[in-house]
């Protein structure tokens, strides 16, 4: 099957349950949308991320009650450099949505969602460890995989694959 081009027009996608809910709540929170390969991506404004997560978790029609994953993509050298990616799953409705927050390269920080889904605890620690993105309000933001005294964040694109020797 040939690939359909991604849809990025907000008008066409505003009926998707997650998008509709977010737009009804705060249209300023949605910075953009993308529907590509049957997957829905919503770009969320950094300051409204936690609010958006609470909203989607508690939505009566389609509750995204399960946080599948939190990760990050480094777009170095372009700005905004980091994209923190949240994969949400609605177990009752069998629906997925991907939230993305774009962060600048200097002092990247976003509000933690551990208070929304405790599952975010380790995921956010991992992103902090490997990308150096800070999650404000995280109860225990320390390195998870790398040794405590490690310098640098290995999954950043300006970090060499073979490490510093």
């Amino acid at each position: 099957m040939p690939l359909a081009p991604p849809v990025t027009d907000l008008e066409q996608l505003k009926n998707h349950p997650a998008v509709a809910r977010l737009l009804a709540w705060n249209s300023g929170a949605v910075e953009g949308v993308k529907f590509d390969r049957d997957e829905m991506t919503v770009y969320v404004d950094r300051s409204s991320l936690r609010g958006a997560c609470i909203l989607l978790r508690d939505d009566a029609g389609c509750p995204f009650n399960f946080l599948s994953d939190v990760t990050c993509v480094d777009r170095f050298p372009s700005e905004p450099r980091f994209e923190v990616v949240y994969h949400l799953l609605s177990i009752p409705k069998k629906e997925r949505v991907r939230l993305k927050v774009r962060l600048n390269g200097d002092g990247p920080a976003v509000e933690s969602v551990t208070s929304v889904w405790p599952a975010a605890n380790y995921f956010e620690r991992e992103v902090f460890d490997l990308f150096g993105v800070r999650f404000t309000g995280h109860p225990y933001l320390r390195r998870l995989l790398m040794p405590e005294d490690w310098e640098g964040h290995p999954l950043r694109k300006d970090y060499p694959v073979e490490g510093y020797r």
């Binding site: 997957e39 599948s68 997925r96 605890n121 380790y122 998870l144 405590e148 005294d149 970090y159």
Partner: protein
């Protein structure tokens, strides 16, 4: 290794408690998990897992490889279910490419995946029972596991690091006699599960060590991101194979075992039932195996047959190009999740249009499942920690990556 220095993560909160270090070389921590326990006598006050001893930077390594070269790396993430990882990764890349996979390849993938699930559950059952003190089960489980490993060796040449799936299909046709061997195993195996159950399910010692131990509620399990048998043992009826099918799972009929108690025994029952369902699915796959090609019709992505390569110029050129330059994948991103023996295994692959992935992230089911450990253990005895760790079936390779 800074890990060797005591990590100041846990200080005794009260005068009467002490900190006990368990692992990373403790036999019941299934690898190199280190757990710090704050204990008051025998009772756990707080528990703090410390991970990262097996971190090898696989996600970083993936960014420096061609798409096809990542497949062997995925084996090494979770060495008990390599084929599930292979499947998840190739499905993600195929979704990025928009490839259609022929039915025979899909059925073979399901067949191999269900055998892998049994293989993984056998290791879990054997080691879990041994942790709790039932030594015999371990020997029985590894006897059957050996049969499965021989089947893997038949198709892929490897017992554990199979790398059998390719982007666009499957590496090789299974050898002659393979399906007969699988059928023979499928006929024999249900009696073996009965044997394990005879040893454990109604064994009073086993029941006392597992029933009502390390309980977690449905609400907590969901909030902490638990998946797979850890979630189903707490009463959530959700299985990605049935609810969000991939790779032709919609063609199979199977029950999803669910238990409501949320204790070690419930998770044990779920997994044992899963083994029975898996072997039934293996039989369905054998009976309904379609005929046809095992690779997608995509000459720029899939390596040509050896025969064609030696007779057709074009095939030779494609072969050379794929090996030396890889294949370009259209720009985009994909999150593909499959039901691994441990829960939701997810691959998030980002492509920038080149022949190497821009980012590969593995969503590890064990990492999320392990977050339930404090909820399960706090307020209980040290011996229950061993049962709890066994019951969430962790693989440290997958947690640390």
């Amino acid at each position: 290794m800074a890990h060797l220095a005591p990590t100041p993560v846990l200080e005794p909160g009260q005068d009467k408690t002490m900190i006990l270090n368990m692992g990373p070389q403790h036999p019941s921590t299934h690898g190199v998990l280190r757990v710090l326990l704050e204990i008051d006598g025998e009772t756990i006050v707080r528990i703090m897992p410390d991970i990262g001893y097996l971190h090898t930077g696989i996600e970083k390594t993936c960014e420096a490889k061609f798409y096809q070269q990542v497949v062997p790396l995925t084996d090494r993430i979770d060495y008990l279910c390599p084929l599930t990882n292979n499947l998840c990764y190739v499905l993600a890349v195929e979704k990025l490419l928009g490839l259609e996979i022929p039915p025979k390849a899909q059925w073979l993938r399901v067949l191999m995946n269900e055998l892998t699930r049994i293989n993984s559950h056998l290791v879990w059952l054997g080691t879990h029972a041994m942790d709790i003190g039932a030594m015999t089960v371990f020997l029985y489980c590894f006897r059957e596991r050996e049969d499965i490993l021989r089947l893997f060796e038949m198709v892929s040449g490897q017992r554990m690091m199979t790398s059998y799936f390719r982007v666009g299909g499957i590496a090789l046709e299974p050898p002659i006699g393979f399906f007969d061997k699988v059928r023979d195993f499928a006929n024999r195996f249900p009696a073996c599960v009965d044997e394990y159950e005879n040893l454990l399910t109604e064994n009073p010692i086993w029941v006392m060590r597992t029933k009502g131990v390390a309980t977690i509620t449905e609400k907590d399990a969901l909030a902490l991101g638990a998946s797979g048998p850890t979630l189903r043992g707490s009463g959530v009826d959700f299985d990605l194979r049935r609810d969000m099918p991939y790779s032709g799972y919609e063609n199979f009929k199977f029950k999803v075992p669910v238990a409501t108690e949320g204790d070690v025994f419930a998770r044990y029952l779920c997994r044992v039932q899963e083994m029975r369902e898996s072997i039934a699915m293996v039989r369905q796959a054998l009976d309904g195996m379609p005929e046809g090609p095992i690779k997608a019709d995509a000459p720029k992505v899939v390596l040509p047959d050896r025969e064609k390569m030696k007779t057709q110029m074009e095939a030779l050129i494609y072969h050379f190009k794929i090996i030396t330059e890889g294949f370009a994948v259209p720009e985009g991103e994909v999150y593909q999740a499959v039901e691994s023996p441990r829960g939701e295994m997810g691959y998030y692959v980002v492509s920038d249009g080149t022949a190497k992935p821009y980012r590969v992230h593995m969503r590890s089911a064990c990492l999320a499942n392990m977050q339930t450990l404090p909820k399960m253990c706090e307020g209980r005895l040290i011996a229950d920690v061993v049962a709890a760790i066994g019951s969430i079936d962790i693989v440290l390779g997958e947690i640390d990556r």
